[in-house]
């Protein structure tokens, strides 16, 4: 023992193996075990979270149609000066591409894509494709023939659109989602007022979310305070009443709200029978209904974090403040409230983020005026099969959420974010 300590040689285990190696191996084994334990979750997250989001983000700028189905035109139009009509080569390449596209039946894809930029492009392309192959007399210009088929081919704007889309990615969907459009110079500009839609929808989404959050805070904070200061037996019972709707399906709850709020619903008929109103109130299928149902559904997300934070604040803080001479209301505001901010803000953030992505409640309980961004994501995915737009709107929602979180963690500090 004293020998091994006095000499500077590496320590060895009883079997002669250096102790350091042994330790390193043991540590590695432990790490491998830990990795093996989290591997299922990591793979699950990768497959269901990381990859779909990456695909979504890619899809929002993806622009494959022109490049894949009009390959020769794509190549030829690269050299165009973008002022006068393109050269004869471009027209010839176009006629060959259209012939191939017609035979492969891919013309529809390109036509649909180009029609997004200029209405009528679809019919123009299909009409021209039907005329393929062109039977040209010797020395006859393809360009003249195209213009003969449809004079729009003589308009450089249409060629601009093809040139613009002859890239495998495009900001088009993202621009459209923000009511922007690309000028010929390639810079974004705001679309004319009558064509704008999405800024309004985004604004409405944020506005509704803001108010739902405010209502949740106004209703949830006092309730959480009350629950936190009740004796445990009573507060547990009441907590179950908070959680019970929380455990019920959102669809069921929205349906129940429809029953309660509609024109001939429970509330209206009760108020009419009491003689308080003579006309039924419009409670469902408008903003009021959406607010009522969303606040009801999201309330627990404010109450629970607020409750858990309040539960951890001993009564003595308030007592101390009062014994020091402060009025109970002032003491509440100066001593109690600041300590609850982290939990309450966490709840509010949660509610706001969930609101931004809300779909089912406004869809069922709102008029078209209450539809939020998610509705249009669903609309583009299911109805018009325009995945580019759906992905772009989704990406913007994601960015909005992340920006919000960044602002929040800057203001409150993410490490103070406490969900209890």
């Amino acid at each position: 023992m004293s020998e091994s300590l006095s000499v500077n040689a590496p320590l060895t285990a009883a079997d002669g193996e250096p102790l350091k190696l042994k330790l390193a191996r043991e540590r590695r084994n432990k790490q491998l075990k830990a990795v093996a334990l989290i591997a299922p979750l990591a793979i699950f997250l990768l497959l269901t979270f990381v990859i779909p989001i990456a695909t979504l983000l890619k899809r929002s700028v993806d622009n494959p149609e022109v490049v894949s189905y009009l390959p020769q035109t794509t190549k030829a139009i690269a050299g165009w000066d973008r002022r006068a009509l393109p050269s004869e080569d471009v027209f010839r390449a176009m006629s060959q591409d259209l012939l191939v596209a017609k035979e492969n039946k891919t013309i529809f894809e390109v036509a649909k894509r180009l029609n997004m930029d200029i209405t009528g492009f679809r019919s123009l392309l299909q009409k021209t494709a039907r005329k393929m192959p062109l039977e040209l007399a010797a020395g006859e210009s393809v360009r003249d023939r195209f213009i003969q088929i449809d004079e729009r081919w003589g308009d450089p704007d249409h060629w601009h659109v093809i040139a613009k889309n002859a890239k495998s990615w495009t900001p088009f969907y993202l621009y459209s989602s923000l009511d922007l459009r690309e000028t010929k110079a390639g810079t974004p500009e705001l679309a004319p007022v009558e064509e704008r839609a999405f800024l309004n929808i985004f604004g409405r989404t944020l506005w509704i979310s803001l108010w739902v959050t405010v209502f949740c805070l106004l209703l949830g904070y006092p309730l959480a305070y009350w629950l936190a200061n009740l004796p445990a037996r009573k507060s547990n019972l009441l907590m179950i009443l908070v959680l019970l709707p929380f455990w019920t399906s959102v669809l069921v709850r929205v349906a129940s709200w429809i029953v309660l709020l509609q024109r001939e619903g429970l509330i209206n008929s009760a108020l009419m029978n009491l003689g308080l109103i003579h006309e039924p109130l419009q409670l469902a299928f408008n903003r009021v209904g959406v607010y009522i149902a969303m606040v009801h559904i999201l309330l627990p997300f404010v109450i629970l974090p607020a409750y858990s934070v309040m539960k951890s604040i001993p009564q003595t803080y308030m007592r101390a403040a009062i014994s020091l001479g402060d009025h109970p209301f002032a003491a509440f505001w100066k001593i109690y409230f600041p300590q609850t901010v982290a939990g309450v803000a966490a709840g509010a953030l949660l509610v706001f983020i969930m609101c931004i992505g809300y779909y089912i409640t406004p869809a069922l309980l709102g008029s078209p005026e209450e539809q939020m961004v998610s509705y249009y994501v669903a609309f583009y995915t299911n109805v018009t099969i325009n995945w580019g737009m759906a992905a772009a709107l989704g990406s913007l929602l994601l960015i909005a959420t992340m920006t919000l979180y960044a602002v929040y963690s800057k203001l409150v500090g993410a490490n103070r974010l406490s969900l209890g």
Binding site: T316, Y317, R319, I322, S323, L324, G325, D326, Q339
Partner: protein
């Protein structure tokens, strides 16, 4: 006590105060208590004895069900707690975690609308008093328990209240720090001349610090006296057992004459004791004697009371040894012997003679339940 008008030096007076939470049982049964100006009064008692409730009624966080509480002659019953101008130190310190030490101390001063320079001067003075002048900008979470306790103390004193209440303020500290802080609080009390009402369940803390100690049990003050009187002259067996170490001998009163009682033990031996709670023959009694008043063998020869005892156990304490004895057939009788006086020939099972003066043993009530 309850009949006389409050004297001029009485700061706080409780008159016939009762408190019940459920309407069925009284947590404070009947409290008449005068606290003098500049006094350090400790309310001592086991948990549930009503001492903390009394403190909370004084602070204003509980309202008496019946009775009057006066502070400096002014009736407190309808004064809300924030207008009472009473400093308070809590067991868990209750320092505001989102404020620095200086902000914590400035809190009561800014409420009183003092000028900024006055606030800064007072905060500095208070922090210097508890020797924490260099930690003004720390947050409570960055300080040790002892430091937090000092800040809490400084905060309760900084607005110069006429009365400071302390609710088991040292309960969360370790023994060494607690003893240190006891002295520090005592010194601050002496220096500032403030009135302190201190609640604790630790009897040694109460004896060390207080001018007077009120011993609570079942919502009633059992005895209120200076520490030495409480220890030497307990008025009932609860106080005798609660304060310090105590030996008990059970027996029956044979005769009572001129404040002295003759008590016969179950073994047939008789003991002469001071009659405190007994006044007639035939009463059962528990007699109380402090371990250091018991003398052994040759030291016991001059005593009026002498009994044989069997040595049951030695317990070594370093500076002294405790002997556990069976006296007259009653077990658990402790005697403290300095190491120098210990006879090395003694062994477990030996019979020794124990003795004491009759004024040192007190014949008290027999019941474990106080009357």
């Amino acid at each position: 006590m309850s009949e006389q008008q409050p004297a001029s030096d009485v700061l706080v007076s409780f008159r016939g105060v009762q408190k019940s939470y459920d309407g069925e049982s009284l947590i404070v049964k009947s409290l008449d208590l005068d606290i003098r100006r500049g006094e350090f009064l400790t309310m001592l008692g086991p948990s549930g004895s009503g001492k903390t409730t009394c403190l909370m009624m004084l602070a204003g966080f509980e309202t008496p069900t019946h009775g009057e509480i006066r502070l400096g002659g002014q009736l407190l019953n309808n004064v809300p707690p924030h207008k009472r101008n009473i400093g308070m130190v809590f067991q868990n310190y209750a320092l505001f975690p989102h404020m620095t030490v200086a902000e914590n101390l400035a809190y009561p001063l800014t409420i009183r609308k003092m000028s900024k320079s006055d606030v800064a001067a007072r905060v500095k003075k208070a922090l210097d008093m508890v020797q924490l002048g260099n930690l003004a900008n720390r947050y409570p979470g960055q300080m040790s328990g002892g430091q937090q306790q000092r800040v809490a103390l400084a905060r309760a004193l900084v607005f110069e209240p006429q009365l400071v209440l302390m609710d088991e303020p040292l309960g969360a500290l370790d023994k060494q720090l607690r003893e240190h802080m006891q002295l520090e609080i005592k010194h601050i009390h002496d220096t500032l001349g403030i009135t302190v009402v201190y609640v604790t369940h630790d009897q040694s803390e109460a004896l060390t610090m207080s001018d007077r100690v009120a011993v609570f049990k079942d919502g009633i003050i059992q005895q209120i006296d200076a520490a030495n009187v409480l220890y030497e002259k307990p008025v009932n067996s609860f106080v005798a057992n609660f304060i310090g170490e105590n030996n008990t001998l059970h027996g029956e009163v044979v005769a009572v004459e001129q404040g002295s009682a003759v008590v016969r033990l179950a073994s047939g031996d008789t003991v002469r004791a001071s009659a405190i709670c007994v006044d007639r023959a035939g009463e059962p009694t528990s007699m109380s004697i402090r371990p250091e008043r018991v003398r052994l063998n040759q030291f016991a020869e001059s005593c009026e009371n002498r009994l044989p005892a069997r040595l049951a156990e030695f317990i070594y304490f370093g500076d002294h040894v405790r002997l556990r004895l069976d006296v007259a057939g009653q077990s658990g009788f402790m005697v403290k012997v300095p190491v120098g006086e210990l006879d090395s020939r003694w062994q477990v099972g030996d019979t020794l003679n124990v003795g004491w003066m009759s004024q040192d043993i007190r014949a008290l009530d027999s019941a474990v339940i106080a009357h």
